[in-house]
């Protein structure tokens, strides 16, 4: 197994049991991914239509009259750009909304074409779950009933998208084996594809929640089971939507406070909030809990202070938990600006204590990271890019490419640069120190983007190793 994947160990078991009731009060953001023509847009169209999220005028816009009656082109519901309709492919992510009685959903319909991998990465970075579609009709060995020797039996895009979702720590990955209605032996094909997926996921260290056989076109196992044939394709588990209703949403439950300073509110005259010239630091708590009276340290400067007051959205004092925005005032005036981090001060270690000190975030200028290269211009070692970490822009030089990951074999291959849509490990030198931690420990402190300093295009997703 490649260490590119190793850094990204599973958070915890993604399997949902009855005792772990998920928080279904908030919307589940999930993405659909897979190869071109695997039926992603059709699947989304099916979910929207069958959950009654599509309104009559939108449905009328994608209905064609044929000799056999009205036919709905489900893909046209989400392919919102003229260029997509012309070419019959999805180019960019479409965000769609629907709800069932159990919960609300936000779907990112991510494109399958390799050329648009960047848009899939975009969608995955914000997702709680990923549905990876596998087109059963595209795998000749499954159709012909031949043996699948190894995971090369899967299409490269299936592997690429699963790896990207895994790399970005999408908490739940579900495989949906589609178009099984088009095969004479659906159960046989599903069993073979499931086995190939199992081999592949084990090899890559990916933990999948489930593998569901379906027909998006016919609506089998999408919202509910196939009505006229329960247990179709030899599968007794929940339909895709039933599964999605139970998946947990992303949460970062870290004990130690991390607060990125997003915006500094300067005092106004005659203003009670900022009395005595005390500035308010606003931001969204990345980890832990923000409470008045706690001792904190400001990074990268290392200055110490005590939190004097915490205020919420309606400017009432109170404690604020991870995921929510807050304003804070410190007990002394420090030089703090947007881009700094306020973190829990490392606890002093008593001489007679054998306890480990509270781990602090080390400020570093040298990073090892896995990058998903998104720009058409290849990564060039030696070049300086803009990097964004939290709310801080800094310059970053790519020292070297350690290796590139071969998506098909998972082997680490020597490479000088990284072309568009490649994944690899790199060494970066930063202009200033940042409190970075491995992405596997924190989505907030462990993620950066690189921006091309000449074109301003977003060039890479960076996951700290």
């Amino acid at each position: 197994m490649s260490d590119v994947l190793e850094l990204n160990r599973p958070v915890s078991s993604s399997a949902v049991t009855a005792s772990q009731a998920p928080d279904t009060g908030t919307a589940l953001r999930f993405i659909t991914c897979g190869s071109v023509d695997d039926g992603k847009s059709t699947l989304i169209g099916r979910l929207l239509v069958d959950s009654r999220a599509v309104l009559q005028d939108h449905l009328a816009g994608v209905t064609k009259q044929t000799h056999d009656g009205d036919q709905v082109d489900l893909a046209r519901l989400t392919d919102g750009l003229a260029a997509e309709r012309e070419q019959g492919i999805t180019i960019d992510v479409a965000w769609r909304y629907f709800s069932t009685e159990a919960r609300k959903f936000i779907i990112g319909d991510a494109p399958g074409h390799e050329q648009y991998t960047r848009n899939m990465v975009t969608a995955a970075s914000q997702a709680d779950a990923a549905v990876v579609l596998v087109d059963a009709t595209k795998l000749p060995w499954a159709r012909e009933g031949g043996p699948a020797q190894d995971s090369d039996a899967l299409l490269p895009q299936t592997r690429r998208h699963s790896l990207l979702a895994h790399l970005l720590r999408v908490p739940s990955i579900v495989f949906a084996v589609n178009k099984l209605d088009a095969l004479p032996d659906a159960a046989g094909a599903f069993a073979r594809i499931s086995a190939a997926l199992t081999r592949f996921t084990q090899e890559a260290g990916i933990q999948a929640v489930a593998t569901v056989p379906m027909s998006a076109l016919k609506g089998w196992n999408v919202v509910g089971p196939r009505a006229d044939e329960p247990g179709w394709a030899g599968y007794q588990g929940p339909a895709l939507l039933e599964l999605l209703e139970t998946l947990p949403v992303t949460g970062e439950a870290q004990a130690s406070l991390a607060f990125p300073v997003q915006w500094v509110e300067t005092p106004q005259s005659g203003d009670s909030d900022t009395a005595r010239g005390r500035r308010v630091l606003w931001g969204r708590v990345a980890a832990g809990e923000l409470t008045a009276g706690s001792q904190v340290q400001v990074l990268p400067s290392g200055q110490r202070a005590v939190v004097a007051e915490v205020i919420n959205h309606v400017r009432q004092p109170g404690a604020v938990l991870a995921g929510h925005s807050a304003g804070l005032k410190l007990d002394r005036e420090l030089d703090i600006s947007r881009g700094d981090w306020v973190i829990a001060a490392p606890a002093p270690v008593a001489d007679d204590s054998f306890d480990e000190p509270t781990p602090s975030y080390a400020v570093t200028r040298e990073l090892q990271a896995v990058v998903a290269w998104l720009d058409d211009d290849a990564l060039t070692p030696g070049r300086v890019y803009w990097a964004l970490h939290g709310h801080r822009w800094i310059k970053a030089r790519v020292k070297r490419v350690v290796h590139q990951l071969n998506i098909n074999t998972l082997a680490r291959e020597e490479s000088h640069d990284l072309p568009a849509n490649a994944i690899g490990r790199v060494e970066l030198t930063l202009q200033d120190g940042i409190p970075a931690v491995p992405y596997a420990e924190s989505r907030h402190l462990g993620a950066l983007i690189l921006v091309d300093s000449a074109t301003n295009r977003t060039a890479a997703a960076v996951l700290v190793a």
């Binding site: 919102g80 960019d92 609300k104 925005s325």
Partner: protein, 319 residues
């Protein structure tokens, strides 16, 4: 919105309304995201502005801005592009709300662009929505705005569903849908070259239903036209056209007075009400849950010309 509501849908609506905690957690998450974006704009740009029409979406956005910054502290001006074809109630409401928040309000009008000759109408009574782009781009140039926030939502239209929250515009104000910047985590790439700007959509992920649930929860005051009121209308192309000075009835049309409300408010000449008895936000939530026609499909004449009309206008600089 008519009486053709199916009982199953109504039942589902009631179940959802009963599970109120569900919608509250969801509304909290949406509000959180919106406030985060509003602050990000304040911190990232030198000359941002918030587009404010007095409509429900911009009032929701403004409520979030009030929470993010407080009265008298919203760190950017409100900008209204006036077509000259407004409902007077909405204009009055807009001015009142801006005054309450002690916010700076800038109004730039399509009629000024017509006087300058930068907007030419093909006929005097044509809808002016599309021409707002010209006036908007002129205002951007005049004030050198580098970010404009708008209350557009992805559920409105399928080209909108494709757009990023921070949407880059080139020096002609154009959207390039095939070259959008990847939007990773909440790390927004806000870097600009001179002459370029961003359109930012803080309520992208809200749906029409979310907006109404938030309006009810936060008790947000709206122009009265959003609620049921008797109005003179005629039926045209399957829509109800309001009878106004700008939209007189045609000779063969019958004027009738019906209880109606507006699901969206814009240029008088292309904004249609729907038949409705809903007098409160709670009534409208139930109606929205059982609606079988989209907000734009029910109300906007100008979106129905072609499947790509919104995308085309956005490429030309429309919001």
């Amino acid at each position: 919105m008519n009486a053709t509501t199916e009982s199953a849908v109504i039942q589902s609506a009631l179940n959802q309304a009963a599970a109120h905690h569900l919608s509250n957690a969801h509304l909290d998450a949406l509000e959180e995201e919106t406030i985060f974006i509003l602050r990000e704009v304040a911190a990232s740009f030198e000359r941002p502005a918030l587009l404010f029409s007095g409509g429900k979406d911009s009032l929701v956005m403004l409520k979030c801005a009030e929470k993010a910054f407080g009265i008298g502290r919203i760190p950017y001006p409100l900008l209204m592009i006036d077509t000259g074809h407004n409902f007077p109630e909405v204009t009055a409401f807009r001015d009142q709300r801006a005054a309450e928040l002690q916010a700076k309000l800038i109004v730039r009008s399509v009629e000024d662009s017509m006087a300058r000759g930068t907007v030419r109408l093909s006929r005097p009574d044509e809808p002016r929505n599309a021409h707002q782009s010209v006036t908007l781009l002129e205002a951007i140039e005049e004030f050198r705005f580098d970010a404009l926030m708008g209350g557009a939502r992805r559920d409105e239209e399928k080209a909108r569903a494709k757009e990023r929250i921070f949407s880059h515009r080139d020096s002609f104000g154009q959207w390039q849908p095939k070259a959008q910047r990847p939007e990773l985590w909440t790390l927004f790439n806000t870097r600009l070259a001179p002459g370029e700007h961003f359109r930012v959509f803080p309520i992208s992920n809200w749906t029409e239903l979310d907006v109404w649930q938030y309006i009810e929860r936060e008790q947000i005051a709206l122009p009265s036209l959003y609620y049921s009121h008797p109005r003179q209308v005629v039926e045209r192309n399957g829509l109800l056209m309001p009878v106004t000075d700008l939209t007189p009835p045609r000779a063969d049309e019958t004027v009738q007075t019906l209880p109606v409300r507006f699901r969206t408010l814009g240029d008088v000449t292309c904004t249609c009400p729907v038949a409705s008895e809903a007098g409160t936000a709670a009534d409208i939530i139930v109606e929205t849950l059982s609606a079988n026609v989209s907000e734009r499909g029910a109300t906007r004449m100008d979106d129905q010309t072609s499947e790509a009309s919104m995308e085309k206008r956005k490429k030309e600089g429309y919001f």
